[in-house]
Amino acid sequence: MIKITSSEFEPYRELEQYQLQQKAQLSGKQGAANVFVGTMRDFNDGEAVKGMTLEHYPEMTEKQLEHVLADAKKQWPVLDALVIHRVGDVFPDDVLVLVAVWSAHRGAAFDACRFIMEALKSRVPFWKQEILNDDTRRWVAKNTDGYVN
């Protein structure tokens, strides 16, 4: 399931609700669940950041996320996947993204979750504009490789 939301969300509550809802589909088959939660920092690129606006391209965002999930399912035996992404005005400590993948075995769950997250970062049309402490705004030019910043 894919969900784009402009409201704050609590990822572990969403997971619990989704797992209950999908019980029939997962029961007996699932051996592994891998979960990624991405949260907003209060710093980036050497500067303090007090807020951010996440812009997106409605409909294309969902369409490209569907492609990403389909690509993951082609490569790994994924039983189910959940992606929730925040848009609009966000603040440090807000959860920006949740990716959860269920599979029979841990290898597929780990690998597919990583694949979905990296593909989301490079293919799905979201853009971050940061608000610095002096109220100046700057667009994030590109995503990092996920290891340094």
Binding site: Y57, M60, V97, V124, W127, V140, A141
Partner: protein
């Protein structure tokens, strides 16, 4: 005969508007549409383009009533 052209994020600010209507001519490419609606600016090197919400290259051909979008590298997650 026309296509809708949309701009997002920093590109929208650079151009100063979020959309244009481009007169469509048969055989028109994505790059030609840019040159028609943003004649005063060279197309940025790192620009991404989509027709009807699917990624395309700048030499892709347009069809009447397509929705064409231009935007910078994506930065979600």
């Amino acid at each position: 005969m026309s296509i809708k052209v949309r701009y997002f994020a920093s590109l929208k600010e650079l151009i100063g508007r979020d959309s244009d209507v481009c007169e469509f001519t048969s055989g028109m490419t994505v790059l030609e549409a840019w040159q028609s609606v943003v004649p005063d600016k060279v197309i940025p090197n790192n620009i991404l383009a989509a027709i009807n919400m699917e990624y395309v290259s700048l030499d892709a051909l347009l069809t009447n009533e397509d929705e064409l979008a231009f935007f910078p590298p994506v930065t979600g997650g």
